[in-house]
Amino acid sequence: MSAAPSGRRDERPASTATGPGRALVAVYGIFALAASARAGYQIATKLDEAPLAYGLSALSALVYVLATVALAGGGGRWRTVAWLAVGIELVGVLAVGTLSVLDAGDFPDETVWSAFGQGYGYVPLVLPFLGLAWLWRTRAGTGPAAA
């Protein structure tokens, strides 16, 4: 196994699932769990109280699960899925965050994305940026030459 010169770059994309990616997958996993549990509980017990908020809760859960699986998938087609899921996540947290601040009436109960994820230490707001940055860094032609 010959070590590549430091200047050389691999043409293939790096795996999204190792190194820092593993930590990212872990955080996504925790949020997938938290959002799914929250949505499941809300929908099972009080869907009619705030259908919009609980529907969005379910959507956020789906997005987190998808992003977790796609990032853990490491690359290939999963990379496209990961871009989509993390992109939707970013739009979701910004849209729901803004709406929940402007119009509390439609959001009587909390979702993970309410007030930009305030109830979760604003991690939901930071996470999509980390996800996009990580997908960008591991894209083709930029990874370290040797894995």
Binding site: R22, V27, G29, A34, Y41, A44
Partner: protein, 118 residues
Amino acid sequence: MPGPLTALVAATSLALAAWALWFVVRDRAVILRQLWGGAVVVGLLVVQAVVAGVLLAQGAASPDAALFWGYVLTQLILLPLAAAWAFAERTRWSSVVLLGAALTVAFLELRLVQIWAA
């Protein structure tokens, strides 16, 4: 729930988080001794679950059952998952995962206390 027990759970998980943070800063992977530390936290969580079950059976409190046990279960699986991660990723990033898991356990402990009192 008994205050001293929940305080102990929170303190041990935060101590584990601090230990993991130290390893992140030092660029080190999780070591076996930290996993034993995690086992202590999980042991306390099991004790806490049993105590909570007994107290609930005696009618000491009436928290939302699905919510309460959901949090208890989540707390129980986080550190074992982080431990599995530590074996798979022998870099500083396993320490980041352990840090995240330990902080989440402490955060869930706070929520448990709130749910219990509600």
